[in-house]
Subunit: 136 residues, 2 copies
Amino acid sequence: MLNTVQIKEKINQAGERLTPQRIEILKYLRSVTCHPTAEIIYTEVKKNIPTISLGTIYRNLIYLVTKGYIIQFQNNDNITCYDGNPKDHIHFICQKCNKVHDIFETPTIDKAKFDKLGIINKVEYKVFGVCTECNQ
Amino acid sequence: MLNTVQIKEKINQAGERLTPQRIEILKYLRSVTCHPTAEIIYTEVKKNIPTISLGTIYRNLIYLVTKGYIIQFQNNDNITCYDGNPKDHIHFICQKCNKVHDIFETPTIDKAKFDKLGIINKVEYKVFGVCTECNQ
DNA sequence: AAATTACTAGTAATGATTATCAATAACTAT
DNA sequence: ATAGTTATTGATAATCATTACTAGTAATTT
């Protein structure tokens, strides 16, 4: 996992600025294993930067997703969730409690089939079901 | 592909009613290979049932998804799209033109890994990229 | 240290989706 | 067939996650 210095090195590029807000959002997402919504990230980052606004959260999340530092996906209620681990993996989403579990396995697909269709930028694998806790 | 009689047989169950609106929405989705939004479905079904309302479209789409007659997923703009083919398959989504291509292949995953987590109800595989047409 | 401009905070606007409710019509039982 | 039950519809209002806007601020460059 990247430390703050590494984040600084990685995130800063020509024409882009390294703001405390941007660092804090990425640091938070890298520090948790859950898959928070923008609203939750807002609540949590606010503890360290009380004046941060929700718009800043959204803007930076878009930035971090675009840059590939984090992953985004929609949960069962179609709310966008974020994952600080950008490595391809499967999300198991409980349809009752909406909790998300990571499965660190990449399904094997026939890449050749996609070559005709175009260039692949990212994949998203979701599995919906009911977790063991909710299935009592 | 189901014909109208088969749809009637399949769709009607105790406590549920077979309305012309419901039939028409399913018939439309079964007749196309594209992946329309609720708005597009509204426009198309309206040609046959001019008085149908958008709320009825949404309500029946939820019904059809719940029953497993159709599939839903979010496109690159996070708008819900619908697929009249409920068989598991991969969606290749162009990030430029938002067009969706079907890949009739099911990635193999280690089901055992999910047994610990809970019961699987459905899977959703999406691949984002740029289609050959947009990549000129 | 000054200049440039990407970024922020605060707020308003957007728009897909859901909720509401009286009227209707699909189904059931007689 | 007919009447009764209630799932569904049409129309409209409400919701709320997300985006747009703007003047002020601060990160970076020169």
